[in-house]
């Protein structure tokens, strides 16, 4: 190895050039705040997808007349399984990437894209199989009342019903935190910790799905607007301007107030947040594409006769995604935040932390209800903001000066 290949810091330049993602990830790993927030986000995701194993009145293992059964796995819906599989597949991405990197060549599709493709395929196949072939057993059985008779039954650690009946209401409503109820009980005798655990699902699904919808709209329209220009750009910019000018919260309030009550509230929130908050990614994507359009590799790709859709999808859009990633991270925090505000204004009734906080506000003396919900919202919003900050610092070239 010659001296010329050594850099000032002693690192040796060898092997294939580092990809942009690897550089950003390397920057991120140096930041403790980023690592901690990623850990907390994974933990929140785990709490969300494993919620039925953590709290509820459906036993994991049940013994009746000497027969062993696993009720919780029969009761979980297909959607729950699909979410669980998605979570595990995302966690397993680094492993698959390592596999591809070891066996792969230096050039061609990146290990990330290949691993992503394989996992997506597995996930879609699984989802299709589940929805086509499986009917969950959702019949309600009062397992908890027969707990004493069943030897060898395993219940979740917090074994209380999510929606308690009259007995619980009379005996246990607004009970202060104790050994039995670590975070106390709420208005109808419901365990607050169970509410927090299941609220994780609402918060994360609203965050991810709403941001996903708004990204799809924003990136798609932004790419079209920046690449084609002309009247398409003119019209799309006016439309975006209209959406930007009505303050977000006001527009959302107007839409939510007139959505019929028969619409499932969680989908109403997701849809409303998705279709009103796309302007940020639209502007970023448009600006990025305007910059990228003049680059040599785009001209080269066009000279090679690559069709426009492929050029946009493979060459232009991926190179403009970095700033949008930051926006998406903040967007998830913003969506959780907004959902809480909407529940607070009484515009939605989802099983969420916002609703808990709002209910708890009516009785300030039972502080454990609103304090728990508020703390959950704060932690979630904070870790996403921390991660967004860290990614922004990591991709900002000015910091490397």
């Amino acid at each position: 190895m010659s001296e010329a290949e050594k850099r000032d810091d002693g690192a040796v330049l060898s092997g294939p050039p580092k990809s942009y993602g690897t550089i950003v990830w390397g920057q991120l790993r140096k930041r403790p705040s980023a690592m901690v927030s990623i850990a907390v986000i994974v933990l929140l995701g785990a709490v969300g997808v494993f919620a039925p194993l953590l709290g509820g009145d459906v036993p994991i293992r049940w013994v009746e007349n000497g027969k062993v059964s696993w009720p919780v796995f029969h009761q979980m819906t297909n959607l729950e399984y699909v979410a669980l599989a998605g979570f595990l597949l995302v966690l397993a991405l680094p492993l698959t990437m390592r596999l591809f990197r070891r066996g792969g060549r230096g050039v061609g599709t990146s290990p990330f894209a290949r691993a992503m493709g394989v996992h997506l395929l597995v996930w879609l196949l699984l989802a299709a199989t589940l929805f086509l072939a499986r009917a969950p057993d959702r019949a309600y059985k009062a397992y908890l009342d027969r707990r004493a008779q069943a030897d060898g039954a395993w219940f979740p650690p917090i074994a209380y019903p999510r929606d308690p009946g009259f007995k619980e209401l009379v005996e246990n409503f607004y009970e202060a935190p104790s050994r039995h109820h670590p975070l106390g009980t709420g208005r109808i005798g419901d365990d607050v910790l169970i509410g927090i655990i299941y609220g994780t699902r609402t918060a994360l699904s609203i965050g991810f799905v709403a941001v996903g919808i708004s990204l799809a709209i924003g990136v798609g329209l932004g790419a079209a607007s920046g690449y084609f220009g002309g009247w398409i750009d003119l019209v799309l910019m006016r439309v975006a301007e209209v959406f930007m000018l009505i303050p977000g919260l006001v527009l959302i309030i107007i839409i939510l107030a007139v959505i019929p009550a028969s619409f499932p509230p969680i989908w109403a929130v997701i849809l409303v947040l998705g279709v009103t908050r796309w302007t940020g990614s639209f502007r970023l994507m448009r600006a990025e594409i305007l910059r990228i359009r003049g680059e040599d590799y785009i001209t080269a790709a066009r000279a090679l006769g690559i069709p426009t859709w492929r050029l946009l999808l493979r060459h232009a859009v991926p190179n403009g995604l970095a700033p949008i990633l930051v926006g998406a991270t903040f967007g998830i925090a913003g969506a959780v935040f907004l959902e809480a505000s909407l529940a607070f204004l009484g515009l939605v009734q989802t099983a969420s932390w916002g609703t808990m906080l709002n209910d708890g506000r009516q009785h300030l003396e039972y502080w454990w209800v609103w304090a728990s919900a508020g703390a959950a919202i704060f932690v979630t919003v904070f870790v996403y903001n921390l991660l967004g900050e860290a990614i922004r610092d990591a991709i900002d070239p000015r910091l490397k000066i």
């Binding site: 006016r238 439309v239 303050p247 028969s262 935040f337 505000s341 916002g354 609103w370």
Partner: protein
């Protein structure tokens, strides 16, 4: 510059039209017409047939030739009740009971019998989607035609404004959205302008210190703490304040919990009146300030860092100016520019977001008016609110640009 201003002002017109059309379409295409919503709110669940006749009477009186969309709703809900999933069935039954006042719960046969018997009354309300969409265009055209002549319609929910009276001592024109908003806009504006000034005053020294000692302890802690503050939802902060600091809460009883004035505020002298106002406004303003602080301090830090690295600062240092002078006269002045522009531009967003604080502390501001109006399908109030918000935002954007050009001679608009 004049041409530029004229062009910008003219461009406001299509944007405002687009905004108002979007809002109008959203409100009108939703099921449940405003007049019925109003009658329902007045009487609770009552017989739909008589509600329908009553609505017809009101329409005739107001000179409206409008359609009633209930027929559509009933049919949709019946279908859901028959074929939908368990949760959807429950919701459909609840909606049917709310619309009709009957209590058949999930008994689909009873509902069908009732619908067959009463269907004739709804026949004319069953209109096809195309006609519904055309109605939106027609209705919007009517609204615009009236609005440009100064006729903003009458609020359905709000009868009169409290503050404004006509010069002869009578009440202001009943339910005119303009007067309803005229009463409430100053409240919201005052709160937000005070909050903005405070944000500015705190963000500058914080950003300045963080930039000067970049990477040191103050920089890192302030960035972290501001981000944490930013992540606290206003509802949680407000609830904590009310629980710990307000009368009737659990802790210190230092502040009043609702409104902007004491009951006897009218009798106070102006000094006491102002003190009373400040006392009431403290907590709401704090709630508005802490969130925006992080954003502006970060912006100030970034722009100062950039300026401290610039050539003119190096020149200033090279010619031997004291460090204080370099920082305050050369770097800071140039950094204030983007901060001021951003302040002006984020004001509309803050005003939009202040509805939470208004609701927390029961302040009669414009945010609450729009929320209440939206809940009641009160089209005149919603539409005028949209126009007002849009106009405020457009003016703020224009103001930001003009300010930028005025402060920075390099910027020229043609």
């Amino acid at each position: 510059m004049k041409t530029y201003l004229a062009k910008r002002l003219l461009l406001m017109v299509p944007t405002l039209l687009g905004m108002t059309f979007l809002t109008y379409a959203i409100v009108r295409l939703s099921p449940g017409e405003p007049i019925e919503a109003w009658i329902r709110a007045q009487t609770g669940g009552m017989d739909p047939v008589s509600t329908f006749q009553q609505a017809e009477k009101i329409r005739a009186r107001l000179g409206l030739k409008d359609h009633n969309y209930w027929g559509d709703d009933v049919e949709t809900h019946l279908e859901t009740l028959e074929k939908g999933g368990d949760a959807a069935k429950g919701r459909a039954a609840a909606e049917l009971e709310r619309i009709t006042g009957k209590t058949f719960a999930r008994d689909i046969d009873s509902w069908k019998r009732w619908w067959d018997a009463n269907r004739a009354d709804f026949e004319k309300t069953l209109i096809d989607p195309l006609e519904k969409a055309l109605n939106v265009f027609h209705g919007y055209g009517t609204w615009v035609a009236h609005a440009v002549r100064g006729d903003l319609g009458k609020s359905i929910k709000f009868e009169t404004s409290i503050t404004f009276r006509t010069p002869d001592g009578g009440q202001s024109p009943s339910g005119n959205p303009f007067w309803l908003f005229a009463e409430r806009v100053p409240v919201t504006l005052t709160l937000n302008v005070i909050a903005e000034l405070l944000i500015f005053l705190i963000a500058i020294p914080v950003g300045l210190t963080a930039a000067r000692y970049r990477g040191r302890l103050f920089d890192r802690t302030s960035t972290f703490l501001l981000l944490a503050l930013w992540s606290i939802p206003a509802i949680l902060m407000g609830t904590l304040f009310i629980a710990l600091l307000c009368r009737g809460g659990q802790g210190l009883e230092w502040f009043p919990v609702s409104g902007l004035h004491s009951d006897d505020a009218d009798k106070l002298g102006w000094g006491a009146y102002l003190a009373d106002l400040l006392w009431h406004a403290t907590l709401p303003v704090v709630c508005l300030v802490y969130g925006g602080l992080a954003y502006l301090a970060k912006l100030g830090r970034a722009s100062l860092l950039e300026n401290l690295r610039a050539d003119f600062v190096r020149t200033a240092r090279a010619k031997g100016l004291p460090e204080r002078r370099v920082v305050y006269h050369h770097a800071l002045r140039n950094s204030l520019l983007p901060m001021i522009t951003t302040m002006v531009m984020i004001l509309p967003a803050m005003i939009g977001g202040s509805v939470i604080v208004e609701s927390l502390f029961s302040i009669r501001g414009m945010g609450l008016l729009v929320v209440d109006g939206a809940k009641a399908h009160d089209i005149p109030v919603i539409m005028f609110g949209t126009v007002l918000y849009g106009f405020l935002t457009l003016v703020a954007l224009l103001g930001g640009d003009v300010l930028y050009a005025w402060a920075d001679p390099r910027v020229r608009y043609e």
